[in-house]
């Protein structure tokens, strides 16, 4: 089940409810980061993520793989929930009510982890603005914390070139922040 694509996880959820947990684990960090980045509030981000996944769970039985991929579908729900919360000044909870899912507890530790996800999301957004070779080098060195030697071997170039790409990439990023 862990190897199944998103679309299969969603279409199988009504018959195999455990499939949704795999779908959740696969995308929770990205969705939490997405909301954290846009709301700057960990509790709000958690609330929105909970409602988004609850709505996705309810909607899984209507998901149609021939109309688009599962990740786009999930982000469509996420964007809709975010817009509704901005319009109404609060996060709706209809999906969670329908599933009888009560309020969530957000402690300081969890809030910190969500804030970090927001920062990572921001970093990934910025990386997309770099040339591909620099983005790849910065991602491998800074986010994945791989050694220069290992990165150089994987992209079949010298350590000096990788160092230069990382350096240029970070300089560009500083200008963007």
């Amino acid at each position: 089940m862990h190897e199944w694509p998103d679309e299969r996880l969603l279409t199988e959820t009504p018959r195999t409810p455990a499939a949704f947990a795999v779908f959740y684990r696969r995308h929770e960090a990205a969705v939490l980061g997405y909301f954290m980045r846009r709301t700057q509030d960990a509790e709000l981000a958690a609330d929105l993520a909970a409602e988004t996944f609850a709505a996705a769970l309810l909607g899984a039985k209507r998901f149609r793989a021939d109309r688009g991929d599962g990740l786009s579908w999930l982000y469509g729900i996420a964007r809709h929930r975010l817009m509704r919360s901005l319009e109404h000044g609060r996060v709706e909870d209809r999906a969670r009510r329908r599933l009888a899912m009560p309020r969530l507890e957000i402690d300081d530790d969890l809030a910190e982890r969500i804030e970090r996800l927001g920062a990572e999301e921001r970093a990934l957004e910025l990386l997309e603005k770099l040339p591909a070779d620099q983005a790849e080098a910065v991602r491998a060195r800074v986010l994945d914390q791989r050694s220069y030697k290992e990165i150089a071997a994987s992209v079949k170039t010298s350590e000096a070139v990788v160092r230069k790409r990382v350096s240029r990439g970070l300089t560009t990023l500083r200008g963007l922040v």
Partner: protein, 222 residues
């Protein structure tokens, strides 16, 4: 391991309840299905057929009254202007008593009541499936009552009873303005849409709503 383990666990339980139970139900005798539901409710908030002690015995369908009393319609109308419940804590031991007090203000179809045993929900405020706030309880009670009215409308429609149908339609038209529904995001729009279908005499959307969202609420008309 996930970042938000509590949410993962709550979603996993909700998935099992929402989809797992639906698959089980048709294959089980009703008494056994009830027992399974109660067991699931102990593990999490499953608003199924867990009944409060000393609930009245079920009445055969042919003996159920169909006339919606004027007092019931007045109660529904009164709810449309009632203030929502505050977000105050409710101790687990007080859930059934609080629910009974809230239900006293809620209209129910003739011959129906909500005898869900709220005590089977987890007695731990940190448990994702626990119920801890008065407004949450009100929301669930109102939703379950709205389900009963939707089912009653379908029953009255099937029996061709114009008077009962008119009463149920009137109450369904009020539901979106009941206090908990007013504050339930697009819940108000959901119930308004159903009320429009009811007023138009279209059973299809109501039947779908009952099948999708109300299958855990016991109705005496089936």
């Amino acid at each position: 391991m996930s970042v938000f383990e509590g949410l993962e666990a709550a979603l996993d339980e909700a998935a099992q309840r929402h989809y797992g139970r639906r698959r089980l139900r048709p294959h089980l005798p009703s008494a056994l299905a009830g027992a399974v539901a109660v067991a699931a409710a102990v593990a999490a908030v499953v608003l199924t057929g867990a009944s409060r002690p000393q609930s009245p015995p079920a009445v055969p369908a042919q003996e159920l009254p169909l006339t919606v009393p004027a007092a019931t319609l007045a109660r529904s109308s009164a709810l449309t202007t009632a203030a929502p419940q505050p977000q105050t804590l409710v101790e687990h031991g007080a859930l059934n008593a609080t629910a009974a007090a809230l239900e006293a203000a809620v209209p129910y179809p003739p011959g129906a009541s909500d005898d869900y045993d709220w005590a089977v929900t987890p007695d731990n405020p940190r448990d994702m499936a626990s119920i801890n706030f008065r407004d949450d309880l009100e929301g669930l009670i109102d939703f379950r009552a709205a389900c009963l009215w939707t089912s009653f409308w379908l029953y009255a429609h099937g029996r061709g009873d114009a008077g009962a149908l008119a009463g149920a339609t009137t109450v369904l038209n009020d539901v979106s303005r009941w206090p908990a529904m007013r504050g339930a995001g697009d819940g108000a729009a959901y119930w308004s849409t159903l009320a429009r279908h009811a007023a138009a005499g279209e059973p299809g959307p109501l039947r779908a709503a009952v099948a999708l969202n109300c299958d855990s609420v016991h109705v005496p008309w089936r």
